[in-house]
Symmetry: C2
């Protein structure tokens, strides 16, 4: 089959931009502070970047790394790099020098673009990055150029804005590589191809109901699953991207009002930040705000408190390995008249596959048989189809392990309800095995979230001489509240099987990733120091 003919065309999300630039040339494509780029500007900047990259010898199958918050250059990279047949490696800005060095080297990146705020993280490792030919400083908050290279805007001027021909003739060619933060071991490079990114982007349009009037706020990092493919979905419909350098509640609400935001994506912790913002209830939303949440199972109370502000929440679920969201808690009209708490309870389920994803199952980990639909029997969530990664870059062993039995293994433990909706009980590594019984840390957390004094909570297993493992809760109280450990434990005993109540409660802040995921493994590492824990 040829790459492009009268009736065949390679599926690729980069093509969405040329269509929107043709249809909406004068519409605002990208807003960032006072800056405004029309779709015509956006397209031209992308062509400049693509041509400039070609001028320095970057082409087919090369890799280009970006360490950059959600500013326009990060978005531009999502088009310019795959357009010339290269792969974009967008790196988590909160990683350490050591981790970043590993990723740049492992990915064979030839050019590295760094927002100058993070120059100091790169400077100490420059000598180790032997494959990198070019460094570019992205000067956003200042004009400093900490690395030996041009600034981004000057680099753009080295490329012409003449159209660049699409260099990909196989839709399963790699478009991006996203390194998973990897709670254990070294980061792994998850490869996305053009076809998968195209289909996931269409899936996001369908599930989030995006159209040309949408205004999307970039609360979710673009370095996380390429912003769940919204980097491409928002462009596809000719909507407006509103960039956001730092996720601060006040700024989010200001933009919701001033830019008329209609959509944003955020991990549950961001929802907690938003819901607990003092001015939240005074914000005037001119348009319906749709928030897609994922990244960790959201507690029903968190969903309910956001919806009470007039926001519409859609709960989606996925992993880096499946292009971001793969399932959605698709709403059923029969639930419309339930009380808000029960609605939120239902909405906290991970749900059913996207229209474009199709295949998700929960299976017994030994036999790979589907678990019964009883809301009780736990198994592992597995997925397959066009939105499963091509594999881990240069790691066939890990790929084979993740794909064993013909399915991608999520490592998430879940039950399936009678209606077929999947609900996560825990990460495989997180679940507590106490006296031979499985205890879901998510279940305990969801109860503690209902405690009136609690802002945020994480539950982990800690070693116990008698039971093997018992639950421990780490609690962040609400501002001004001073709950006691006893009151938390008592509250759990009233609302859960008594053996599931935590034995220990500790108060204080929680360690989190850049994308707002609570790092339970860090809590666990501390709790298990000197103890051996079962290996899953």
């Amino acid at each position: 089959m040829i790459a492009s003919s009268v009736n065949y065309d390679v599926l690729s999300p980069v093509k969405f931009l040329s269509r929107s630039a043709a249809v909406y040339p004068n519409k605002i494509a990208v807003a960032y502070g006072d800056r405004r780029y029309t779709y015509d500007d956006f397209q031209k900047r992308v062509y400049r970047l693509a041509n400039a990259l070609r001028n320095i010898g970057v082409g087919k199958n090369d890799k280009v790394a970006f360490i950059c918050p959600n500013t326009p250059p990060m978005l531009e990279a999502h088009y310019a790099v795959p357009l010339i047949g290269a792969a974009l490696v967008s790196i988590n800005i909160r990683l350490s020098s050591k981790e970043i060095a590993y990723i740049i080297n492992h990915s064979d990146s030839k050019a590295v673009f760094v927002d100058n705020e993070f120059g100091g993280v790169i400077q100490p490792i420059v000598d180790q990055l032997t494959q990198v030919k070019t460094f570019i400083n992205i000067c956003d908050v200042s004009d400093e150029r900490p690395l030996d290279g041009m600034d981004y805007e000057s680099f753009l001027t080295t490329g012409s804005d003449a159209p660049v021909e699409f260099a990909v003739d196989n839709e399963r060619d790699v478009a991006t590589i996203n390194y998973t933060s990897g709670t254990t071991g070294l980061p792994k490079g998850v490869m996305y191809h053009h076809r998968g990114a195209y289909l996931n982007a269409l899936g996001e349009i369908v599930e989030a109901h995006l159209d040309s009037s949408s205004v999307y706020l970039w609360t979710l990092p673009m370095f996380h699953c390429n912003g769940w493919c919204f980097t491409w979905a928002v462009t596809a419909v000719g909507a407006t991207h509103v960039c956001l350098r730092r996720v601060v509640a006040e700024e989010i609400y200001r933009l919701i009002e001033e830019e008329g935001i209609t959509h944003l994506c955020a991990a549950p912790t961001i929802l907690i930040t938003m819901a607990s913002y003092p001015g939240a209830s005074k914000v005037e939303m001119k348009r319906r705000l749709e928030i897609l949440t994922a990244g960790a199972p959201p507690a029903p109370t968190v969903i309910q408190s956001m919806e009470s502000l007039g926001v519409h929440i859609t709960h989606v679920y996925g992993l880096t390995e499946v292009y971001g969201p793969h399932s959605v808690c698709a709403w059923q009209t029969k639930w419309d008249d339930l009380p808000p708490a029960q609605k939120a309870e239902i909405k906290s389920r991970q749900g059913v596959p996207y229209v474009t994803a199709l295949y998700m199952d929960v299976v017994d980990m030994e036999t790979m048989e589907s678990v019964p639909r009883n809301g009780r029997t736990m198994g592992e969530i597995v997925m397959r189809g066009n939105n499963v990664m091509l594999g881990y870059y240069k790691d066939e062993e890990a790929t084979a392990q993740a794909f064993r039995g013909g399915w991608f293994h999520s490592g998430d433990l879940a039950v399936v309800h009678v209606d077929g909706y999947v609900q996560i009980m825990d990460r495989q590594k997180d679940i507590i095995i106490s006296g031979g019984e499985n205890i879901s840390t998510v279940e305990i957390e969801n109860v503690i979230y209902r405690h009136p004094d609690v802002l945020e909570v994480a539950v982990i297993p800690i070693p116990d001489a008698k039971w093997g493992e018992v639950p421990k809760a780490y609690v962040v109280p609400k501002v001004g509240a001073h709950p006691t450990a006893e009151s938390i434990i008592e509250f759990c005993k009233e609302n859960l099987a008594r053996f599931k109540a935590p034995k220990v409660v500790e108060f204080g802040p929680l360690p989190k990733t850049a994308t707002g995921k609570i790092q339970k493994y860090k809590l666990r590492e501390k709790a298990w120091e000197g103890h051996a824990r079962r290996v899953n």
Copy 2:
């Protein structure tokens, strides 16, 4: 590449049904009169049909013909037939016995399903249909079985409702063959593949903003481009199909009210029927009604009169050869504040390619170069990409002719406006060449539509000794109106360059196809009897 693996899956619209049956088993999928099928029912009926077809020896690469109005069996065929790797041949119910015999034989159909209202059209040709092994009577308005075969419901009971495995391992395998009515020559079988149908269905979801709360009324025949792929798009989002046997204004409005219709597709003539229905302005629309119109260039006045009823019109454009709609007059917010007449004027343009179509151009017919964007220079509309047909079934010559120069040739003449929006001036065969000047029949029609006494109009070239060709208008007056030929001609001279005004006006009904297209060629044949006309 294997057909289905952990990270590859054949794109096919038939898979949308299994997803919706899993997600919305108890939701109404299909409503027809008093009948209601849930998604679970729908899926089971499809499995029964698929298994019953396999039992009579229908399988991979076989063809199954349906002659059936928009009733549930027609919809079920769109899933069951491609599911087992066969191709659905859905035949225009208004064709003659002779045309139908040609299509059934040319398509190599092994089984033929006929709604019993049309049994009389098939009976005389049964002996000619030598390849057909099985006839099935679809008994809707009566229990009669005019053909020698079972009735549809009994046939369904011969198949089990056990899930049928999808039999297609190449997404470019043929899913359906749609015979074009063909104004000249024999009908041609336009082949759609699974990938194209899947992508066009997603395109319809995006452009029509379908979601699970949508209720779609089947005014557009499913035998026309598989209902512009809405047969699959409506199912994909878990919306409700409302079947409709006969397109009658009163019935349409009753269903809009009673079923809460949110979407329908219709040719401009259906809009004229709807707008001129006496009770139209009294209809209470509980929900926003979105109408997609295509099939002929809609006159601005027709768009305006429908929108004045509170309907939202989206104008799309395509042909059978491109899976139905390929372009849309994508709305720009800068047009929001224009007066209604001007909005309708803009909306009558054919616009820009669908997000899933991407490639449309208007080219000089000699050089294949793009015409300038000046709103004046005419060229032919050409398309390419995933939504161009595989080709004409068993007709390589016609396929090569349609695909010359690497583009599909539409035969439609158009201009491109400064903003890139395409506007059709005429079919190549319809345009009037008068004294060496091109005169667009669409332009004249649009003016005559503004005449207060006119319901409908068609303009064609007639032979003229001096000018070669001159325009003639066929006018259908509004009920109770009695315009004169002179008043129509005078009105044109006031609103057009004088030489474009018709020389002759005739009053009376217009010949139309089943899909509401005015058959200009029939008017032309009569007018040119005994005269030789240029060949395009």
